[in-house]
Symmetry: C2
Subunit: 371 residues, 2 copies
Amino acid sequence: MLGRSALSAAGLAAGSIAPTSLLATLSPNPAPGRTAPRIRFGVIGINHGHIDAQVAAVVGGGGEFVAYHAREPELARPFGARHPEARFVDDERRILEDPSIHLVLSSIVPSERAPLGLRVMQHGKDYMADKPGITTLEQLAEVRRVQQETRRIYSIMYSERLDNAATVRAAELARSGAIGKVVQTIGLGPHRVHPPQRPAWFWDPAKFGGILCDIGSHQFDQFLYFTQSTTAEVVAAQVRNVRHPEHPGFQDFGDAMVRGNGGTGYVRLDWFTPAGLPTWGDGRLTVLGTDGYIEVRKYVDLARKDSGDHLYLVDGKGVQYLDCRGVERPYGRLLVDDVLHRTETAMTQAHCFLATELSLRAQGTAHVVSG
Amino acid sequence: MLGRSALSAAGLAAGSIAPTSLLATLSPNPAPGRTAPRIRFGVIGINHGHIDAQVAAVVGGGGEFVAYHAREPELARPFGARHPEARFVDDERRILEDPSIHLVLSSIVPSERAPLGLRVMQHGKDYMADKPGITTLEQLAEVRRVQQETRRIYSIMYSERLDNAATVRAAELARSGAIGKVVQTIGLGPHRVHPPQRPAWFWDPAKFGGILCDIGSHQFDQFLYFTQSTTAEVVAAQVRNVRHPEHPGFQDFGDAMVRGNGGTGYVRLDWFTPAGLPTWGDGRLTVLGTDGYIEVRKYVDLARKDSGDHLYLVDGKGVQYLDCRGVERPYGRLLVDDVLHRTETAMTQAHCFLATELSLRAQGTAHVVSG
């Protein structure tokens, strides 16, 4: 439960808008075996299935899920069935204006995430968006301005790092110096298209921002995080639509080289995962250091394991395989800490925005390779 | 043995200088179990250990190794001990001017390979160089001119494709349409430095041409071959010296994005292979197609096999692991065919030069990332 002294020392004093909601009563009787919730949160917009992982992260970190809003009854019904603990509200204002709610989560259509985030912050609440969390540089400028003004948290759940146990472990190893100085990262993010399951916005770059903005944002986040870069530029970027001519604005391939003050990186995205792969994508991360390297096989280890969380570490002493199932993914817990203590332990705000800025600059400057 | 009719129809007529050497007598009595040699070859310059693989390829393809020359007695002695079938000659002219020798191989210091190749072609013989086969654009222009003029073969043994069984198999699969249309390749070429075993030229970019020219040339070859590109450009390139400040001209990291008329590619090279890897480098090739992808683990399969030749194929039907040990690497055989028949089956001359041109252009335009 919240201590008043912690709130006044670390919490209220830090924000330009007081998080009055922190003073509200939390559920007094948690279920047996669960710790008492530390904050209350709501959901507005559930257009991408990532919302379930976002909710799970915050619940796991000590959040109490109390209310949700979605415009689409066909999405709201099954979501509500999966989350009976939360109540449906028919207007987002019933969440934005509820003083007991500290944090709002969203996986609304990507181009609407920043406008919603502005409303959330302007109502004195913190925000956690699915990626891409922002789809244009204009949105980014406005989000940066309002975040500075309100001192609310605008977090983007770059789940291919934050919600993947092997990648979390890789980050710990790299930060501990296990591979010397990090020189470069390569991030591969292949994805599978299921056309029957994809809504119209999925195909419209004005809605999802383009491949480097959308599924690319994970990769720019990883590059910055592993190289510990605080400034970075796009060296070159390309996008292409190879086999979806029926969706002329769609991009099924994209790649980019980037350079930061802590190292360099290459990222590649595609929508070509073949039907024979036992999961949606063979996501990989290679972290090259001066004294070793790490390869993460995030979701599958070809012809070995159909499940994920595989880490290979090569250093001066030998080759190790680390099964990372069970490694804690602390993002949700740290985000709840940050909501309470006005800290930046889950992700610094500067990093969150710089990853998005890189993805938007790559997208904006990408050479369009003819199909 | 050579048939006169084949020579006159396909051989002599094609060249502007007659390969008179083809008429010379070959050893009449091959060892039991070996087929009779089809051509005779010599070696000039053995500064890189790759020469043994070059010799093995041509012997395996039907060549008879008859003579070698090297300026360095300390290199010539152990080489001669490994190749008692060939005689040492104290002047390269004894090879160049020997009418019975059809083909000359070399792994002389890289910057001397093109000048030597010019002399070889001007003596009416074909040439096969270790990579990098040419270290400057000026050399390349001269080599192209003399090759056109003499119609001799100037082959470069890009061994990470030509001498790796899994990569040969990957090429067969890709060409057969196993992964649909090839969209992109990623080639990773990490290498190990053994400073005590490296001669002075290894550290001098004027001698080895730079990292993208040297160990990068394999990668540009693979990119062109797998995408079947006949024209290509460098999108971006970088080089860096991270941890060899005692050799200021050396580059221990390099990467590049390339774009061809058959697809795009990314290549990365480094000299950071850690001591704990059971081989000199964890070379990888990923070929992305519209309907599947191939990953080649050339020399090691981390924590699974310390030996090489591993291929993973993912397509519409599933995931397959192919152990490619024993797959024929036909380069030597085809090169001997080409010497005999004036054909281009081992590698087209245009491809050979374009791969080198790309590597030289990447090297020449590379951004130097500060250490």
